[in-house]
């Protein structure tokens, strides 16, 4: 079998090693080279990571027992799923019981008042993931709706930029943990309703996310708008485009790459902020899950927190991929390399 060691220095380096030779053999067909690069190398790295993790974990004793390795974490992942299914079954059973009871009541007396109560079991891990995603997206959308127009206006008007820039620079580095108490108090004071549509904890977390998500989008949009090709602005002057046509036909399309760069950074920050906000605001999401497990302190707690850590990481990654897909969808330059 021929090898293409000449083409790929990395593989030729491996070929001096017995395991590496296996890889170079796979790499002989060009299709295999692609697969090797796409799957084998990350797979190998992952395997090494898991081995190191379990080796290190077995050496560390904590107050909650041995530090969990990959096996225990996987065990807890399955356990959390089983608990989720059990909880759902309970809910179904509850609703069936309620229906039967109501039917009986109605048979006895057709005019009887029938009460339908919602099931009030504890939220499962999957419910908590969903709560977190909904919360972060709410905060992120509010932030984007505020930040994009501000960014566009700041980019177009040097005067407004000069006015707002100091404020942006001062509020940008503020930690979510500093915002949270203020937001909590304001939400408690302002959002008073007998039949609240949203939980206060949900609002507090979402608004905290908003406050931290605003800045990268504002700054990037401003820069994007500011760096529009001067000739395109001249075109709009020669055509005497009105303000709206100029903004929608020229300014927004040409600043979309920068705008999305800002949005992606914002969503990344928002997701990190959310976990901290949920811990403190007790919004029933992943942050609260981590906090509750930490307070619980059972022998499974550490493994469950690690499940949460991995979940947070994977969802953060997926959110970024979604933004990338959106960027590709909205970008006019399909040949641009986005990563």
């Amino acid at each position: 079998m021929t090898t293409d060691t000449a083409h790929t220095p990395f593989l030729s380096m491996l070929s001096s090693h017995p395991v590496g030779r296996y890889f170079t053999m796979l790499g002989s067909a060009s299709g295999w080279t692609q697969i090797t690069k796409a799957l084998m190398i990350p797979g190998l790295a992952l395997a090494i990571f898991l081995l190191l993790w379990s080796a290190v974990a077995s050496q560390i004793q904590t107050s909650l027992g041995q530090l969990p390795g990959p096996a225990q974490v996987w065990q807890q992942t399955k356990q959390l799923y089983i608990e989720h299914k059990q909880e759902r079954e309970k809910a179904v059973a509850f609703h069936e019981r309620q229906e039967k009871r109501n039917e009986k009541k109605l048979q006895k007396n057709p005019n009887a008042e029938v009460k339908i109560r919602p099931y009030t079991g504890k939220p499962t891990y999957l419910d908590q993931i969903w709560t977190s995603i909904v919360t972060v997206i709410t905060g992120f959308i509010i932030a984007s709706l505020i930040a994009i127009p501000i960014g566009i206006i700041c980019g177009l008007s040097p005067i407004l930029y000069a006015a707002l820039n100091p404020l942006i620079q001062i509020f940008k580095p503020v930690s979510p943990l500093a915002w949270l108490p203020i937001v909590t108090i304001i939400v408690s004071a302002v959002y008073i309703s007998d039949d609240p549509l949203f939980d206060k904890s949900y609002l507090t977390s979402a608004i905290t996310v908003t406050l931290c998500c605003l800045w990268p989008t504002i700054i990037n949009t401003t820069v994007g708008v500011n760096t529009i090709d001067k000739d395109l602005i001249n075109v709009s002057k020669v055509l005497r485009l009105n303000w709206f046509t100029k903004v929608f036909k020229i300014v927004i399309p040409s600043s979309i790459p920068m705008m999305f760069a800002g949005l992606r950074v914002s969503l990344g920050i928002g997701w990190m902020v959310l976990i901290a906000a949920e811990m403190l605001a007790q919004n029933p999401g992943l942050g609260k899950f981590v906090w509750d497990e930490f307070q619980n302190g059972s022998s499974d707690s550490l493994a469950r927190i690690m499940v949460a850590v991995l979940t947070i990481g994977i969802i953060g990654f997926l959110l970024d991929r979604v933004m990338l897909a959106l960027q590709k969808f909205f970008s006019w330059d399909k040949s641009a390399v986005l990563r």
Binding site: V238, I250, D333
Partner: protein, 289 residues
Amino acid sequence: MDHYLELSHVSIDFPTPDGPFRALDKIKLTIEKGEFISLIGHSGCGKSTVLNIIAGLHQATEGGVILNGKEVSAPGPDRAVVFQNHSLLPWLTAYENVELAVKQVFKKTKTKAERKAWIEHNLELVHMSHAIHKRPDELSGGMKQRVGIARALAMEPCVMLMDEPFGALDALTRAHMQDSLMEIQAELNNTVIMITHDVDEAVLLSDRIVMMTNGPAATIGEILDVELERPRDRLALAEQPEYNHYRAEVVKFLHERHKNPAKAKEKDPVEAPHSKNQKEKPVLYAVND
């Protein structure tokens, strides 16, 4: 006073940290309807600034521009500009780029169907009917410039301002574009002011060649009337002594007499801030023009 376009004593100062920099000094020029004028001069002598003042993108510090009896104070579609690097909106197709201009100019005077026919007609004039729904990044440099010209023509401008329209093109494409432009000019008889660096282009296309002295405080050095019969054919002209005479006149001016009479002792021309000639980006999908 009855000229179609008149530049009277146009001077412009640009602010710099060392005080105002006089880029243009007392430019006087009158242009009649249907004339094709070339502006030629060394880099940085302020040719683009003259064009930008007529376009209304720059404001003259002294003097002014009168078009059709009205003073020019702001940019407008009656003075369409063809930019050197085409300046098409990259996210719009050729059709949509022209449409943006047509919608703006004929919003009230043409129906939707008339506008569509007008856009297609103008793209046909520049021989772009085959690529009407392609975006600029799918077009070659010459084709992009054709769409740029179609966009300017579609505005039915009083005067068309061309800022080195073929400067970024290769020689063969440029020759094609010049022939196309002459063809269009024969049909529409627009008033055109074109900036160029190319002596052959200036002689071939123009009725008059305005030769500018070097900056700072650049002004008009000489004006050459080109009395060659139209239609002009580049191959036939190459043999003609008149053509070579005009050509030699321009070359002589550029090499010998370009120094500003008032500032003959000044050293090298200073690059004015406005006239950075941007190189065109490489074409992704090269299509032979």
